[in-house]
C-alpha cells in the first residue's frame, strides 16, 4: 500500500479584484492525484509557479488545501486535529530550499537541531544532547561545531543542519523542497549523495520537489511533471525521460542543456495550442500516464 496518497488536491489562493468586488481564486494546485510508495523517491518537477511547492506544503498542512484528500498510512491527514497533526509531523518532515533563510540566524546550530526534540518532548536534556551529536555525525557535520551560528557554516553545511533537524524525530517520510538548488555544483553532488545514503540507512521515503530535471533523473524512481497546477505526465523516471508523451514534458526535456558539446540539440518549442490543458491523465504505457 502507498505510504502517501494525494487525491484530487486543490489549492486556490484568493485574488483580490478591487476593494469590494468578490475575490476570484487562482488555482495554484488543480485536481492533483498521485501516490508515493514506501521507500521510493518520488519527484515532483515543474517550472516556477507550477504549484509543486504548494503541494508539498498542503501535504504537511503548512497551508490548508481548498479541497481534496491527503492520506498518510491510510489515515486522512486533512481531518486531523491540531494535536494529532503535530503528532503526525514526527513522521512527516520537510527540508527547505534555502539554507540561508530556513535557519534562525540567532540560534546555535545545535539548538536548531534540538528544537524539534524539545517541541515533541523527546527525552531529557542529556538524552537530547546525545541525539544532537548523533544527528550531526549522521549528516556529516562535526558535533564539535554545534555551538556555532548558521552564518559560520557554508551553504552545503547549512543544508546539512536543515537535514539533521528534519531527521531529529526519526521520520519515515521527508519532503525535500529544492534541497540543493541554492548550492554550488560540487557541493550539490555531496548533498545529493548524502540524501541517497540516508534513504538507504534510515529507510526514508522522499517526495523530491525540484526544477532541475537532471537531478530528478539522478535520484527519483518515479516522476510527476507539473504544468500550471496540474500533473501533465507521471511515470517511472526512465520511461518518462526516454519517451516523454506530453508536449510540455517534451519541450521541458529538450530545454535541458546537455553537458556534451558534440551533442545534437533539437529544441522542441512549447505550443500551448497543441494540447488540451484540461485533458485527463491516461495510461500510455504500463505505469506511465500523460494528460493527452
Amino acid at each position: 500500500m502507498a505510504l502517501l496518497e494525494v487525491r484530487h488536491l486543490v489549492k486556490e489562493f484568493p485574488r483580490r479584484r478591487g476593494l469590494f468586488r468578490a475575490a476570484a481564486g487562482i488555482r495554484a494546485v488543480d485536481d492533483v492525484t498521485f501516490s508515493v510508495e514506501e521507500g521510493e523517491t518520488f519527484g515532483l518537477v515543474g517550472e516556477s509557479g507550477s504549484g509543486k511547492t504548494t503541494i508539498g506544503r498542503c501535504i504537511l498542512r503548512l497551508i490548508e488545501p481548498t479541497s481534496g484528500e491527503v492520506r498518510f498510512r491510510a489515515e486522512d491527514v486533512l481531518s486531523f486535529s491540531r494535536a494529532r497533526m503535530r503528532e503526525a509531523r514526527r513522521e512527516m518532515q520537510i527540508v527547505f530550499q534555502d539554507p540561508y533563510s530556513s535557519l534562525n540566524p540567532r540560534m546555535r546550530a545545535g539548538d536548531i537541531v534540538e528544537e524539534p526534540l524539545i517541541i515533541h518532548k523527546a527525552g531529557r536534556k542529556a538524552v537530547r544532547v546525545e541525539r544532537v551529536a548523533e544527528l550531526f555525525s549522521l549528516v556529516g557535520l562535526d558535533p564539535a561545531q554545534r555551538a556555532r551560528y548558521p552564518h559560520q557554516f557554508s551553504g552545503g553545511q547549512r543544508q546539512r543542519i536543515g537535514l539533521a533537524r528534519a531527521l531529529a524525530l526519526n521520520p519515515s517520510f521527508v519532503i525535500a523542497d529544492e534541497p540543493v538548488s541554492a548550492l554550488d555544483v560540487s557541493v550539490q553532488a555531496q548533498v545529493v549523495n548524502l540524501l541517497m545514503e540516508l534513504q538507504e540507512r534510515l529507510n526514508l521515503t522522499y517526495l523530491f520537489i525540484a526544477h532541475d530535471l537532471r537531478l530528478v533523473r539522478q535520484i527519483c524512481s518515479r516522476v510527476a511533471v507539473m504544468y500550471r497546477g496540474r500533473i501533465v505526465e507521471l511515470g517511472g523516471t526512465e520511461s518518462l525521460f526516454e519517451a516523454p508523451a506530453h508536449p510540455y514534458t517534451q519541450a521541458l526535456l529538450s530545454a535541458i542543456p546537455v553537458p556534451d558539446p558534440a551533442a545534437t540539440r533539437q529544441r522542441i518549442m512549447l505550443d500551448e495550442e497543441a494540447f488540451d490543458t484540461g485533458a485527463a491523465l491516461r495510461e500510455v504505457e504500463a505505469g506511465h500516464w500523460a494528460a493527452i
Partner: protein, 344 residues
C-alpha cells in the same frame, strides 16, 4: 591581436587595511565573433573578473594590477571620462538578476532610451523608434506596448530580453553576460541562450559568458576558462575540455553533473571552495584534490601549455611554478569609477 585581452589581472578587497585577492593573475583573450565561457563556482572570482573589465569595482574592492587591453588601449589606464564611452557602448554588460538590474520606477522604454541618449546614439525624438527596433531584435512581442511598461509588469524572460536589448543599444563589440539565465526557468533559459547565440552570429559579437552550469558551457562556448579560488586553472577549446579534462577540479565538476548515470551516487568533490583570504598554501585545490602529491602544497603551479589553446595549472602535467610576483604592469589609473545608478 585579440579584440580584448586581460593580462595578469589581480582584483580583491581591502579588509582591515590588508589587500585580500579574489581574482589572482587572470589572463585570457577574446576575439571578435567568439564565445569564451568563464566557468566556476561561487567565490571563484568569475563575476569579479567581469566587473573588473568594466571597471565597476567599488571600494573596498580594488584592481591591484594587470592590464585590460581593448583595441590597443589599456582600459585600466584610461581616465574615467574616457572610460565612460567604452563602458556600455563598446563593452556592454548583461546582469544575472533582471529584476534588480532594471530600475523599478522607470519604464523599460525610458531605460533603453536613456542608454541611447547618454551615449549620443539617438536624440529624444529618434530614441523611441530605436528602442522599438531593439526590442524587436531580441524578439519581444508587441514592443511598442512593452516599452511603456514597468519592469514588474514583465515576466523574468522578458525582463532578461529587455536587459539584452539595453546591452545591444549602442552596437557593442563585446558583450559580457554574467549568469544571464541562472534566475530563469529551463525553457526560458533555452530561449535566451538561443537568442544570444543568434545575436552573436548576426552581429559578430565577442561574448564573454560567465556561468556555473557546464551544460550551458557545452551549448554556448567556443573556448572555456575554468576558474577556481580566483585563478584560471584550465583553459581549453570546448570540445577537448569535455572529452579530456586535464585539471582534477574540471574532472570533479564534470563528474558532479547529475542525471548522466541515473540511480548511482555522484562522484562529488569533497570539501568546499575556500573563501578569499583563507586560501591554502600552494595549489588552492590541494585539500580537495584526489590526485594531490608532494609538490602541491608548496607553491601554486604555473602554466603548462599543451598547445592548441590548451593550458592547465597543475603539477600532474608539468613542473612549472607560478611566478612569485605578478607580471609587471603599471598601477591602475585614477579614482575608482562609480557604476551608473541603473546598474547599481
Amino acid at each position: 591581436m585579440p579584440l580584448l585581452s586581460v593580462q595578469g589581472l589581480t582584483t580583491g578587497f581591502l579588509t582591515a587595511g590588508q589587500f585580500v585577492p579574489a581574482v589572482i593573475d587572470v589572463s585570457f583573450a577574446l576575439d571578435k565573433g567568439e564565445t569564451l565561457c568563464l566557468v566556476g563556482e561561487s567565490g571563484s572570482g568569475k563575476s569579479l573578473t567581469a566587473l573588473s573589465i568594466m571597471r565597476l569595482i567599488e571600494p573596498p574592492g580594488r584592481i591591484e594590477h594587470g592590464r585590460i587591453v581593448f583595441k590597443g588601449r589599456d582600459l585600466l589606464q584610461l581616465p574615467e571620462r574616457e572610460m565612460q564611452p567604452v563602458r556600455g557602448a563598446e563593452i556592454a554588460l548583461v546582469f544575472q538578476e533582471p529584476m534588480t538590474a532594471l530600475n523599478p520606477v522607470f519604464t523599460v522604454g525610458d531605460q533603453i532610451e536613456e542608454t541611447l541618449r547618454v551615449h549620443g546614439r539617438a536624440t529624444r525624438r529618434t530614441a523611441r523608434d530605436r528602442a522599438v527596433e531593439l526590442l524587436e531584435a531580441v524578439r519581444v512581442p508587441e514592443p511598442g506596448r512593452r516599452l511603456r511598461e514597468y519592469p514588474h509588469q514583465l515576466s523574468g524572460g522578458l525582463r532578461q530580453r529587455a536587459l539584452i536589448a539595453m546591452a545591444l543599444a549602442c552596437d557593442p563589440e563585446v558583450v559580457i553576460a554574467d549568469e544571464p539565465t541562472t534566475a530563469l526557468d529551463v525553457t526560458i533559459q533555452a530561449q535566451i541562450l538561443d537568442l544570444l547565440r543568434d545575436l552573436q552570429a548576426r552581429l559578430g559579437l565577442a561574448l564573454l559568458l560567465v556561468t556555473h552550469d557546464l551544460g550551458v558551457v557545452a551549448e554556448m562556448a567556443d573556448r572555456v576558462a575554468v576558474m577556481y579560488a580566483g585563478r584560471i586553472v584550465e583553459e581549453s577549446p570546448v570540445g577537448p575540455l569535455f572529452s579530456d579534462p586535464k585539471h582534477p577540479y574540471t574532472r570533479g565538476l564534470l563528474a558532479s553533473i547529475p542525471g548522466l548515470v541515473p540511480g548511482r551516487r555522484l562522484k562529488a568533490i569533497p570539501g568546499t571552495v575556500p573563501a578569499p583570504g583563507t586560501l591554502p598554501q600552494g595549489c588552492c585545490f590541494t585539500p580537495r584534490c584526489p590526485s594531490r602529491f608532494e609538490p602541491c602544497p608548496s607553491a601554486h603551479p604555473g602554466i603548462t601549455d599543451f598547445g592548441g589553446g590548451r593550458t592547465v595549472k597543475c603539477y600532474l602535467h608539468g613542473r612549472a611554478v607560478e611566478p612569485a610576483t605578478a607580471p609587471p604592469g603599471p598601477p591602475p589609473h585614477g579614482p575608482v569609477p562609480q557604476p551608473c545608478p541603473e546598474q547599481a
